[in-house]
């Protein structure tokens, strides 16, 4: 059986990739994709812990299902915003959408 650590390491790598993407990328679509990566990393953690620590109950799996649902909704909303942004500014560069400040 694959040890738990392997899952955790994979999850950590995925999460770090996501963080990097969110911080480094300027394209709004790529930023959203990176957020998805982070969410999936978290889901994987939940499932791994659920399967290894308390297999009789499926709490972690349920969480993962919820995360997928919420993520789908979030992406739907976020992409709609990105489309509106593109219509108005002809760009999806997040640095240029910086008027929400003092």
């Amino acid at each position: 059986m694959v040890p738990l650590e392997n899952y955790l390491v994979l999850s950590a790598i995925l999460f770090s990739l996501g963080v990097y993407g969110v911080l480094a990328r300027r394209n709004a679509v790529l930023v959203l994709m990176s957020v998805e990566l982070m969410l999936n990393a978290v889901s994987m953690n939940f499932i791994a812990f659920s399967a290894y620590l308390d297999p009789s109950r499926i709490t972690g799996v349920i969480f993962a299902v919820f995360i997928i649902t919420v993520a789908a909704a979030e992406v739907g909303l976020a992409l709609a915003i990105v489309i509106r942004l593109f219509r108005n500014r002809a760009t999806v560069n997040v640095d240029e959408a910086a008027i929400l400040k003092w």
């Binding site: 969110v22 911080l23 480094a24 997040v94 640095d95 959408a97 910086a98 929400l100 003092w102």
Partner: protein
């Protein structure tokens, strides 16, 4: 079960009538004045039953004096209920009926009934007619509760209630600015004393562990309260008595209180409320006796008041103001008696004074009503022919006040003079006798200038007429009492009514004192009256003021002091302007610049400034926020791991 145990009904009936009149009075025909008379009349009837029951039962005990009963065994009826329980402390509220209470009940209900009847005539056609009678009932109820109270808290509540009624009735004509000013002055001046009373009650209650008056007195007598502590708390208590009874330096409110309707002056500011201080002191006298030099202080306050107001009354020209200063002076007499350890003399004088002073006030009310609100002596004169009944009763009242044999005032004033001699203060006797001469003098002046001589204002004189029977009736009844109420001092009279030993033995139980005529003292008393009356008669005969003007010119400085009432009002005004307002200025400065500008506005300023600096951190760029979140999470994780080790 006896009626005496249910004496609280005396207060409950007018209290209920107050509610009825205050809520529905305006819809009743004639403002419900007959209901007011009915309520006080019922109280009066119950009072007679209570007195009869009390005297009879006391007679059954054979009288304390004859059998040498101890003070504690003296018959006093109590009836109380458990009011509230806080931990181990049980507060009981109830009534306590002893001779002092019985006497007060008699005075209050009698004068209240007479004033109620008189008011029907006097207040006819006034605005807020129903409201006058409503507040009058509330006053009677609170005053009766005050004298019935068996504990200091209930007494304090009633004390404040009568103060409120006094305020409402002084300011009855609130369209007049002077009336509202007088009402405020009365309320605030007595309030200074009332705070003292409140502190005193709390101090005594704390030390004695109970508010029951008899238990507090007992604790004081047994020495359960430290001597300095007792002195201080009794001093505070006495401040309350001084405020209510308008003793120097609190006397300034009573003359101004004459702005109220005259029946109110008769009831509240002559016969009942102002004697609450005397009542309280008499009630607590055993505790005062063991509280250091309190007795001497009481005597001095009374003496100074009697003399000072005696002088002031000499130069007043308003009928009611003369009577007001006279009232303050007579209250001073009572305090002298109390300070001399003779509450029986004080209570006796309280009773006779209530009757003849109420008579005088109602008589002046009759004059004011008949002359359509002219109450300056300079405008009146010669009213004897126009108003014979008022003039005759007023004359008898004046003679009683002057202490003329054998009217009521003579016997009670005699008792007070006697008490100062017993106490051993020759100087007090001489000063008090001089105050009595002044009393006789200004009383005669008042009568001569109002009722004798030629009318000074022909127009007013011609429109004057004798008052209707609803007003002269109470005058006649009170006149009768002013003549006969002094005789209860005799043992034979007392025996006939039910208290062998006369009123003085009836009232005070610890040092029973039976009245006997001391001819030297009686002669002095008669001489006092004669000197005062004849000198005033000589000076003002025929309404002439030529001689008095000469006297004023002879001593302009003294005359100036007297007409300006020894500058008390001016001193207080100065003190308020400089002291109180100065202090208020400092407080308001502190409030404005320290509390408001630094405290309240300061925190807002800090928020505003920090916001103006920190707002630049808000770049609007998503990656900056994301970086902030990332750094925050990493920091939290590192700190969390470090803390967990």
């Amino acid at each position: 079960m006896t009626i005496t145990e249910h004496a609280y009904l005396l207060a409950a009936i007018p209290a209920g009538m107050f509610l009825l009149l205050a809520l529905l009075g305006r819809y009743l025909p004639r403002g419900g004045d007959y209901l007011g008379v009915l309520a006080t009349g019922t109280s009066f009837g119950l009072m007679i039953a209570v007195v009869a029951n009390y005297v009879q039962n006391r007679g059954g005990l054979g009288g304390a004096f004859q059998h040498g009963l101890e003070a504690q065994e003296f018959p006093a009826w109590t009836n109380s209920i458990e009011w509230s329980t806080v931990g181990d402390f049980v507060l009981r509220m109830g009534i306590y009926v002893d001779p002092i209470t019985v006497l007060m009940l008699g005075v209050i209900t009698t004068v209240a009934l007479m004033v109620n009847i008189f008011s029907i005539g006097y207040m006819k056609g006034e605005p807020r007619y129903y409201w006058f009678f409503a507040v009058l009932q509330l006053f009677v109820a609170s005053m009766l509760m005050l004298v019935l109270a068996d504990n200091l808290l209930l007494l304090l509540i009633s004390w404040e209630l009568v103060g409120v009624c006094s305020f409402l009735l002084i300011g009855f004509y609130w369209e007049k600015r002077s009336a509202t000013e007088a009402a405020k002055k009365a309320f605030i001046t007595t309030r200074v004393g009332d705070v003292g009373l409140f502190i005193g009650v709390v101090l005594l209650g704390k030390a004695a562990g109970t508010f029951n008056i008899q238990d507090v007195i007992h604790a004081a007598q047994e020495g359960h309260i430290g001597s300095t502590y007792l002195f201080v708390s009794m001093m505070f208590l006495f401040l309350g008595a001084m405020g209510k009874s308008a003793q120097v330096p609190f006397h300034v409110w009573l003359p101004d209180a004459m702005e109220g309707p005259t029946p109110v002056s008769a009831l509240i500011h002559a016969a009942t409320m102002v004697v609450a201080g005397v009542y309280l002191t008499a009630r607590m006298l055993p505790a005062f006796e063991v509280a250091g030099d309190m007795m001497l202080i009481i005597t001095l306050v009374g003496l100074v008041t009697a003399l000072l107001t005696g002088f002031i009354a000499l130069a007043q020209t308003d009928i009611k103001k003369v009577l007001a200063y006279s009232t303050v002076g007579q209250l001073g007499f009572m305090f002298v008696a109390l300070g001399s350890g003779a509450p029986e003399a004080a209570m006796f004088h309280l009773m006779t004074h209530a009757f003849f002073k109420a008579l005088l006030f109602l008589g002046s009310g009759s004059v004011i009503h008949a002359t359509h609100h002219h109450q300056e002596m300079d405008e009146l004169g010669g009213l004897w022919k126009k108003m014979p009944i008022t003039a005759t009763t007023f004359l008898i009242g004046s003679l009683a006040l002057a202490g003329v044999f054998p009217l009521a005032g003579f016997w009670s004033k005699d008792e007070i003079l006697h008490s100062t001699l017993d106490w051993g203060g020759g100087w007090a006797f001489i000063l008090l006798a001089f105050a009595a001469v002044l009393t006789a003098f200004y009383t005669t002046r008042l009568f001569v200038r109002t009722f004798l001589g030629k009318p000074k204002d022909q127009h007013i004189y011609e429109h004057t007429h004798e008052s209707s029977f609803v007003m002269t009736g109470p005058l006649l009844f009170l006149c009768l009492l002013a003549i006969v109420s002094g005789f209860v001092v005799f043992q034979d009279v007392g025996k006939a009514i039910g208290f062998p030993g006369g009123i003085t033995e009836f009232i005070f139980v610890e040092h029973p004192h039976v009245f006997h005529i001391d001819w030297a003292l009686a002669g002095t008393s008669i001489a006092i009256g004669v000197i005062g009356i004849f000198s005033a008669g000589w000076m003002y005969w025929g309404g002439s003021t030529v001689r008095s003007t000469k006297l004023a010119e002879w001593q302009p400085g003294l005359y100036d002091m007297i007409t300006n009432k020894f500058y008390f009002d001016e001193m207080y005004q100065y003190g308020i302007d400089r002291g109180l307002l100065g202090f208020s200025f400092i407080v308001s400065w502190f409030d404005r610049y320290v509390v408001n500008d630094t405290g309240v506005d300061g925190s807002a300023q800090i928020t505003k400034y920090s916001g103006s600096v920190l707002k630049y951190a808000q770049t609007g760029k998503v990656p900056n926020y994301a970086m902030g979140v990332a750094i925050g999470v990493i920091t939290l994780a590192v700190v969390g791991l470090a803390v967990r080790g």
